[in-house]
Subunit: 130 residues, 4 copies
């Protein structure tokens, strides 16, 4: 399952070079992962109601090409490693054919104390992916 | 009680003109109000633990002069109207003698449902001000 | 001319109450004004190339109702006062029938030194509005 | 040369879990690198005036422990690889003894067209470090 979402760069997301600030892409990636989970039918609100949430353990992002206010970007999200308590997403941000940035994002499920924890089976992301 | 806090403009807070983005000042003002409450000995965490929180009802900000990355800014905060369930802060952001922005910020206390509500007496801000 | 644009609240735009942070609405409003100018055929890049830009002089925003991650918001933008060197926008943010926030935003054109200045006639916004 | 800078977490930097949002640390790291360059006597404004600037090519950040509004954080920055046209910074964010996050940040100098380029010798960071 490769999921794609698109967005348009807003002016306030650009820094004094006129480029999208490099931290803003981290926000874009989070937005795209949430869209991915929604499209997969994953009940994220239910996970939180059950006393769990997800955290990012590591993010490794390479910046390939700048983007500017008004640019239409597409973000492709794929789960390259999926376990019950966590996994890895590979995400690519493109403007047309040009790769703007790509990232590997490692996440895991934690409990209310913030410790890695196994969520109930219905929150196993593996069941949501083809 | 006029309270002053200072901060230095960070590069990512500037937009493509090289100026501090106008929305960032709204963040600065919130930061300064929290410092004000802390200096006044107001128990904000206690307010939340008691099931209340504060919301901004209205913000009226005038921008007088731009600020740039690295600028040292001082923010003066004063409560110009203080009631048990809300009030108004007047805040002025300066770089040296220059006024960068000034604002009136109207706030009120709400309960867990987000409705205006009277907090317990120990959270009456009037008792904290000279 | 009343212009409408829509957007979906992204998770990172929410603060520790789970609400859209009040400064984020200021970003939303800027985004909507840019969409308005684009729809009106106003050549904003040309204005900058000619050595001018626009600044916000004052923003008066009232917060009516909270918004949450995933909410679909519509922003209506109308120019209630339009002069060659500036004017006022009235903007309303709604979720369905509910008003989330509304604002009056006063702007003006400045030159490269940041002083109010009359731009060339082709950048007169009055010619772009019905 | 290990450089340390400190900052206090501001409320608007926290997300709906009450934690500092993971993208905000990327901003903190940029702020700390700028403080590092300033402390080293590197003339960043001169670099820009000479027609060059720096971009981040890759950022690999690991999140170890959450941080909260009001936390006092210290950021340690060290250049672990320094060349004339770029290099790598290692940065560690701590709250007391606790590591909150650590990152390797790869940067390079580019010219006005955004292509990697050798800046004049006086902008060689190696000459600034012990």
């Amino acid at each position: 399952m490769k999921h794609a979402t698109s967005l348009t760069v807003r002016p306030y997301e650009c820094d004094s070079y006129g480029h999208v600030n490099h931290a803003v892409y981290v926000n874009y990636l989070e937005h795209a992962r949430m869209q991915f989970l929604h499209a997969a039918g994953f009940d994220y609100k239910g996970l939180i109601a059950a006393g769990f949430f997800t955290v990012i353990a590591r993010l490794d992002i390479s910046y390939r090409s700048p983007a500017y206010a008004g640019d239409a970007l597409e973000i492709e999200t794929e789960s390259t490693e999926t376990r019950r308590i966590g996994g890895t997403f590979h995400q690519v941000i493109r403007r047309g054919e040009t790769v703007v940035a790509e990232a590997d994002v490692h996440w895991c499920v934690v409990n209310g104390e913030g410790r890695p924890a196994r969520p109930p089976e219905k929150f196993d992301l593996r069941k949501r992916l083809p």
